[in-house]
Symmetry: C2
């Protein structure tokens, strides 16, 4: 089906667009009362992720309510460890918790390579979403970067330092690479399945990029993201490596189309490190949306001016915080559209 609004895809491929496309990380979620209504009827976050009709419904909400230029499938990066054989629970206000972690070869041996079947509920959610979106905007698929998934599989829960995961890199680099390989193969299967079901573009989230020294980042994370980017040939690939200040140059050299910037990455410096070819995504400070409407607008314009009109997908530099007002998020989106149309 032909898309009625393909601004995001054209910008991702570096083509000229009438205006800057915009979406917002975590746009489907607690900032919308319509989301909370659905969520309140369920046992928890994971039930929502695993119920295709409802996942599709919350995926589409921000298209209707906020007017974003893309939907992103409502899911979680931790479906991959789950599909590989490590189930988790999500405790309210506490984050994910795995009952088992990967400590040794025996644990590694028990892990499956995830395939489309083991993630059928996500594929089904994409099918439903595509049907209901009816070509209005592109659908973004996504996965966690192998390093970020490794962090959770080894640590077993969120952490400020992920010292257990980092310890594994130093004490057993060979084992670490084996686990990363298995996660990467799973992720490639998963993203290919998403694309086959209709995802028009995919984003790889490396949430814990920022805790690795640059040399280790290239070796234990970027190498695997690069494998994924090489394997996904039918749609553009966005890489968002939060906190990877020192690795922006090497991220610019892999085979992806778009590089996401976090809110602390200087735009001009990032462009110079990443080079002129790739499209950049981001990167307004999400906390700006706590300010008054006037400030939200002026900061949005400042961001657009710094990126310039070409090769830019507007977004925040991190997910929107759950306590933010939907009206402020909409103000950001509207201002991107209006201001960039006038440039």
């Amino acid at each position: 089906m032909e898309l009625k609004n393909d601004l995001l895809l054209r910008a991702a491929r570096g083509e000229k667009t009438e205006r800057t496309p915009v979406w917002v990380m975590r746009q489907a979620g607690r900032i919308l009362k319509e989301y909370l209504e659905i969520r309140s009827k369920l046992s928890g976050f994971i039930e929502l992720v695993q119920t295709p009709e409802l996942a599709a419904e919350v995926t589409i909400q921000p298209v209707d309510i906020l007017g974003v230029d893309a939907a992103i499938i409502f899911s979680d990066i931790l479906v991959i460890p789950e599909a590989m054989g490590l189930p988790y629970t999500m405790e309210e206000g506490k984050g994910p918790l795995f009952s088992n972690t990967v400590k040794n070869e025996a644990d590694l041996g028990k892990l499956k390579i995830a395939d489309e079947d083991s993630l059928g509920y996500v594929i089904e959610a994409i099918n439903v979403t595509k049907k209901e979106l009816n070509g209005r905007v592109p659908l973004i698929g996504f996965a966690g970067a192998p390093w970020t998934i490794f962090c959770y599989m080894v640590e077993g829960k969120g952490s400020k330092t992920f010292s257990h995961a980092r310890k594994m890199l130093y004490t057993n680099p060979v084992f670490s690479h084996k686990l990363l390989d298995k996660i990467t193969d799973s992720t490639i299967n998963y993203l290919k399945g998403q694309v086959a079901a209709g995802a028009n573009i995919v984003q790889v989230f490396d949430s814990w990029a920022g805790i690795l020294p640059a040399g280790q980042y290239d070796d234990f994370s970027l190498k695997y993201i690069s494998k994924i980017a090489n394997a996904i040939t039918d749609v553009p690939v966005i890489v968002f490596a939060k906190g990877a200040y020192a690795s922006r140059k090497s991220i610019g050299s892999i085979n992806c189309d778009v590089v996401g910037l976090d809110w602390n990455m200087d735009i001009k410096e990032s462009r110079s490190l990443i080079g002129p070819d790739k499209t950049l995504q981001g990167n307004m400070d999400p906390a700006t949306l706590y300010a008054d409407f006037g400030t939200v607008k002026s900061e949005t314009r400042k961001m657009i001016d710094q990126f310039g009109k070409a090769k830019h997908i507007a977004n925040l530099g991190h997910g929107v915080y759950p306590d933010m007002e939907a009206d402020k998020v909409k103000c950001f989106i509207d201002e991107v559209k209006e201001y960039s149309s006038r440039l």
Copy 2:
């Protein structure tokens, strides 16, 4: 009293030293079984901080056991909010929790400016420590940076995003500056008290530097650190702003003597941004200490080679993790001493 080992102070002032001085952030703490013995007899962390004889004892342990070139007074950055009128509890494995936070002018009005008296137990711990150290090595005093203290006073607990604290900067910058001023005045009193009691050098820890965009960092954090650096005239001042990648140049321009680097800051790039005058401190990846002894040694030598022999205080790029082996920490310390002596 004249110091028998003043390497750290001479390096901090930019003078030549026979070898590179070394200490380790969180050197007094759970990595030492001697610390755990004392800790096990007490109700908790805060009791240890508030008992001068015991605080002094654990302060000196790493000098005896690890052979560091400086002691750092065992205390907590959150003694400042406590002294200002916001008490906190420390929950095992969960971090600090404040029963009250600072939300408005009324809350702000109730806060005291901390003075030496309200922090008498730290001053007394310094007195005892100095006596028992008997001039063996310098004693480092410390405080949190006003922005980091602000984070806890507004948020009330640890957080991945400190979104409430960051919201305050956007919704009420005038109020935020007033609170930061009050924290800064308290911190200056406190550090002056530490120096009067015998601290030979002080370090300002800005643990949450990395969550602010560069412009906001300069305005809401560095400005106040700079005030502190200007006020402390008798001893050298170390500034450690974790994650402040984009602000290294501006940190280089304030009136401090030493700039601490975290493990993700490239050494040569940091030197070039900070300029040739200041001494640098850091910055080996703490997770390196999980590796075997050979790797610890080779990584230590690599770090020394990159910093060069002059204007460097060796340290990790973050506090040592609690589950690390004391022998590995000692290996790092010994290798710094031995290798830098041969240069």
